[in-house]
Every structure is written in structure tokens, then in C-alpha cells.
């Protein structure tokens, strides 16, 4: 049945070469854990991507209940966590996954660093990777505020004050991030917009660049 449906579409659109091109690529021996177990370090990038997918998934579902508003944000998070089925698991996925993404990304960066994979001709991919790192930290920072509890509020106050200590531009950055002169209602909607629209948009563009470059250039050679 599925095969017939696939064939019907394939006859018309010739989709086989498309996914073949994505899926079929050489995995050199030195990055295959089946050959050398220590090659599992080459999995960290893929694992980061996998957790990122789970973050996108759980985040999308969380917005079905979450409200970015100072009187309702905490109540809606409390409701979705304690009243809705599997709320603990879905929010737990997003909460723990957020930390895990950073950890995995850090391990991936270490692997790239110690195998010297950032060297020519892959310098641009290193730079894009660093940008992804910063976007991820931005996602972590903006997402931290959203439950609007004490921890969220004061972490954001501290974070914004750190940003405000930048010479010359500091006060402008502070007002921009806060959406006003205090950390409050406008900060929350602003951080929500950054967290679910702007930063993910930037992330997708950067990830596309990251993946296209690694396919074009291939995985760096053995040590």
C-alpha cells in the first residue's frame, strides 16, 4: 500500500533522487563506531540535532497551553504541568532538553576542535557553528524567562544587567531587551517572540548552512 503510494508519486515527480542525495553519503571508516568504538565522538553533532528536533517538537506542543503574559504565564505553566496529561513529560523534555542541547553542542565543538576539523577548507563551517552556539544560548536565555517564576525573573534581570554593562551601547541593549525601562510585561512578550519566532528562524537558516557545507566538503580525514 505504502509502496504503491510512493511509486505513484515517484512516477510523477521522480522523488527518489532527492532523498537518495540526502540519505546516501559516504561514512568514512574512521568516523564509524562499528570500526573504532572511540569514533562515537563523531555522533555528537547528530545527537545535538536530534535533541534540537525534540526541542522544536515539545516547544510547539507547549505553546498550545502557554500564555506569554505576566498574570497568566505562571498559571498556564502550572496548569499544563499539573492538570494536563503528560504535561510533566512534555515540559520536562523541553526543560532538560534545553540543557542537553548545550552539553551536546559543547561536546561536538570539543570534538571538532581536537580533531582539527575547523581547519581549511572548513573555517566557514566553524564560524557558522559558533553562530549556532550563540543562537542556542539566546534560545536558552529567552526561554528561561517564560515560566515567569522567581528564578526566571531574577535570572533575566541579571542577564539584562550583564548586557547593559556593555560600553556605550549597554543602555540601548537594555531598553531593547526589556522593551521598556523595567523587566516586566513587555519583556515577557518580547522574549516569547524571540524564543519562538526570531531565534528559531535564525537557527534553521544556520543549520541549513551547516549541513549543506558538511555535505559539500565531507567529513574531515582521520587524525
Amino acid at each position: 500500500m505504502l509502496k504503491k503510494m510512493y511509486n505513484w508519486i515517484d512516477e510523477r515527480l521522480d522523488i527518489t533522487p532527492m532523498w537518495r542525495d540526502v540519505a546516501d553519503h559516504e561514512v568514512p571508516e574512521h568516523v564509524n563506531p562499528a570500526h573504532h568504538f572511540s569514533a562515537f565522538v563523531y555522533c555528537f553533532g547528530g545527537l545535538t540535532f536530534f535533541i534540537t528536533i525534540l526541542q522544536i517538537l515539545s516547544g510547539m506542543f507547549l505553546t498550545m497551553y502557554y500564555v506569554p503574559d505576566i498574570t497568566n504565564a505562571y498559571k498556564s505553566v502550572d496548569f499544563l504541568q499539573h492538570e494536563v496529561a503528560f504535561g510533566v513529560i512534555v515540559r520536562g523534555m523541553h526543560h532538560w532538553g534545553a540543557s542537553l542541547v548545550i552539553v551536546m553542542m559543547f561536546l561536538h565543538t570539543l570534538r571538532v576542535f581536537f580533531t582539527g576539523s575547523y581547519k581549511a577548507p572548513r573555517e566557514m563551517n566553524w564560524v557558522v557553528g559558533m553562530l549556532i552556539f550563540m543562537v542556542m544560548l539566546g534560545l536558552g536565555f529567552t526561554g528561561y524567562l517564560l515560566p515567569w517564576d522567581n528564578k526566571a525573573y531574577f535570572a533575566t534581570k541579571v542577564g539584562i544587567q550583564i548586557a547593559a554593562s556593555v560600553p556605550l551601547l549597554g543602555p540601548y541593549i537594555e531598553t531593547f531587551l526589556q522593551g521598556g525601562s523595567i523587566t516586566g510585561a513587555q519583556t515577557l512578550t518580547r522574549f516569547f517572540a524571540l524564543h519562538v519566532f526570531f531565534l528559531p528562524g535564525a537557527l534553521f537558516a544556520l543549520l541549513a548552512g551547516h549541513f549543506i557545507m558538511i555535505r559539500k566538503q565531507g567529513i574531515s580525514g582521520p587524525l
Binding site: 536530534f50 528536533i53 525534540l54 517538537l57 515539545s58 510547539m60 506542543f61 498550545m64 497551553y65 497568566n72 498559571k75 498556564s76 502550572d78 496548569f79 499544563l80 492538570e83 494536563v84 496529561a85 503528560f86 504535561g87 513529560i89 512534555v90 523534555m93
Partner: protein, 177 residues
């Protein structure tokens, strides 16, 4: 699946063997589906939770003294606590309460069964002793029976009489017509 396989006439048992490629794509596809499917399952159950929550059966709310109810339908307002997710609020409801020929008290919802506007007893000068909806001129009898436009009779509030007071629960389909 077994197309390119060599027939072995000596053996009666024909074993379908799996190619290495097939085995790998099954295991890879299987673990991939597992890794995505399990998180997806939790998320989907989370999303469809409102479908699976039991309908909250409304408690009876004190509305009006029995002595105030007449043969002629009268509109009474009452408040009910509505729990809408994390938002709890006293919402005002309206009921048209009257006595039938045998003196039984019954209460009808003012929500028109056509498209949800609010009906009124003697709402039109042209039709006396009928419920009338101003939106599309739907009309109902005193029992809530739909006369024109609306596809169903007016909903009914279950009534409870206690200590001389009328108590109403949440609306049910009309049982009088």
C-alpha cells in the same frame, strides 16, 4: 522480496532470507521510528487532553425563590463558577423559568438553537406568547418547541427544588417536547 531468490527443489521448507541491506534499513528505520515516535506519542496525548477530559457535570446553583415563579416565563440571572484551564471566573447565565399547566417548574436556556443568539419571551410584537430570536426570527413555544428556523428545541436546565428555592444545573437537550 523473494524474487531474486534461488529455488531449492530438494528442501520442502522455503526460508525467506533477509538481505543485509534490508536488515539494516529495518533496524535503522525501526530505531528511528522509536526515537521519534515515543516523544511524539507523549506530545500528542498532551495536545488531545481536552478531548479526553470528562465533561464537568454542573453543580446545582441557587437561582430564585419558588414563590416568584409564575405561569408566564420570566428571565432570571445566576452565576456559576467556570473553570477554564487556569482561569476561574464567575460567569453570569440566564434562564427562562416558568410553571407548566400542572404546576411543575421548568427552566429553558435562552440560547437559540439556530445560530446561538439570545431568545426572549414575547421578543416580537407580532408573535405573542412565544420565544423569539431577533437574529433570524426563530420562534419557540413556551415548552421550547422549535416552530420555525431553528432545527431543535431550546435546551433545558435540570431543575431541583429545595427549601423553597429553585436550583439549576447545566443545560441538557430539551426533554419536554
Amino acid at each position: 522480496m523473494s524474487g531474486e531468490h534461488n529455488e531449492q527443489p530438494k528442501k520442502s521448507v522455503f526460508r525467506k532470507e533477509m538481505s543485509r541491506r534490508q536488515f539494516l534499513s529495518y533496524t535503522l528505520g525501526g530505531s528511528g521510528a522509536f526515537m521519534v515516535g515515543v516523544p511524539l506519542l507523549y506530545n500528542v496525548r498532551f495536545a488531545v487532553d481536552p478531548l479526553l477530559k470528562p465533561d464537568a457535570d454542573g453543580e446545582y446553583v441557587k437561582v430564585v425563590e419558588v414563590s416568584e415563579v409564575t405561569q408566564e416565563p420570566q428571565s432570571f440571572q445566576f452565576e456559576r463558577l467556570i473553570v477554564d484551564g487556569w482561569y476561574k471566573n464567575d460567569t453570569t447565565f440566564e434562564a427562562w423559568i416558568s410553571k407548566d399547566e400542572s404546576g411543575n417548574i421548568f427552566a429553558l436556556s435562552p440560547v437559540c438553537k439556530h445560530l446561538g443568539c439570545t431568545v426572549k419571551w414575547n421578543g416580537s410584537q407580532d408573535f405573542s406568547d412565544e420565544y423569539f430570536c431577533p437574529c433570524h426570527a426563530a420562534r419557540y413555544t413556551k415548552d421550547g418547541k422549535n416552530l420555525t428556523v431553528a432545527p431543535a428545541p431550546l435546551d433545558e436546565y435540570p431543575v431541583k427544588i429545595e427549601d423553597g428555592w429553585v436550583y439549576l444545573s447545566t443545560t441538557k437537550p430539551n426533554s419536554r417536547v
